[in-house]
């Protein structure tokens, strides 16, 4: 299934050195590969396999996911606010399709 929507949420502003939480959510079924359709045929596994986050182009977080992650994967983690800039999350499925979401943070 195509990756149609994804969101990243950070505080709009933070003090230098403050630890902030970044929350992310992608719309995706995370199809396990174990289910069968109405005619008994196995439904192919279709999951987001990797998730990466950069902060002003420096990678700050990465995740390898399996079908053990719930549909519409939610991942939240922390980072130290270093400089004003963009935090970009990228979700990649097993077929290599990607979607990204961006949040802007301003250091006060």
């Amino acid at each position: 299934m195509a990756l149609t929507s994804a969101r990243i949420v950070t505080p709009a502003t933070a003090r230098m050195g403050e630890i902030i939480e970044i929350k992310t959510l992608a719309r995706h079924p995370m199809e396990t590969g174990y289910r069968r359709d109405d005619r008994g045929r196995q439904i192919a596994r279709d999951i987001i396999g990797t998730f990466r986050v950069t902060y002003n182009a420096v990678e700050i977080f990465q995740a390898d996911l399996s079908q053990g992650i719930a549909a519409n994967p939610f991942i939240a983690f922390t980072t130290v606010a270093m400089e004003t800039g963009d935090i970009i999350a990228t979700w990649t499925d097993l077929a290599g399709r990607e979607i990204s979401a961006k949040a802007r943070i301003t250091i006060t």
Partner: protein
């Protein structure tokens, strides 16, 4: 629930507690016989998955707080919260957090890579649970230490039904 950390060897010796829980609560479990890997020893699956996460080293049962609900009515989406005591400095920080399962068909649920810029070693997500089981979080630090924390979850509706 979070189990206070005893020796790592407790992994094999925890069934009495689960027995007490299941004795007191009416639990509806979907039969798993048709599932891939269902015949495999389940305690063995968790031990093997932990061993893969540590490269065969024995993790220390300390410093990892793994929070899941004691009772998950719906195994399709169960909140998981893991926090590791770490200064998260350049020299001493958590590099990897691996979440592994005793009874899911895929033993490794997720592996998170972080660094000193995280500030805190803390990750939240939602997981699928196929059955009442033990979940473990294994942390690997930049100083070469392996830490583990576990949580037991009673699941009333398995994520392994055909519902979605």
């Amino acid at each position: 629930m979070t189990i206070s950390h005893g020796e790592p060897t407790m992994l094999a010796a925890t069934l009495s507690r689960r027995g007490v829980i299941s004795g007191g609560v009416a639990i509806t479990l979907v039969p798993f016989a048709s599932w891939p890997g269902a015949a495999q020893s389940e305690a063995g699956q968790l031990t093997d998955a932990i061993s893969r996460a540590t490269g065969g080293r024995t993790p220390l049962a300390a410093g990892v707080k793994l929070d899941l609900p004691e009772l998950a009515e719906n195994g399709f989406s169960v909140p998981l919260n893991v926090t590791i005591d770490s200064p998260m400095t350049e020299r001493d920080h958590v590099r990897f957090i691996t979440i592994v399962s005793e009874k899911n068909p895929a033993p490794q649920i997720a592996r998170f890579t972080l660094g000193p810029r995280a500030g805190r070693a803390a990750v939240r997500t939602h997981v699928r649970l196929a059955d009442t089981q033990r979940i473990a979080a294994v942390a690997e630090t930049s100083t070469g230490r392996f830490l583990i924390g576990v949580a037991d979850v009673v699941v009333t509706i398995s994520a392994c039904t055909n519902g979605g």
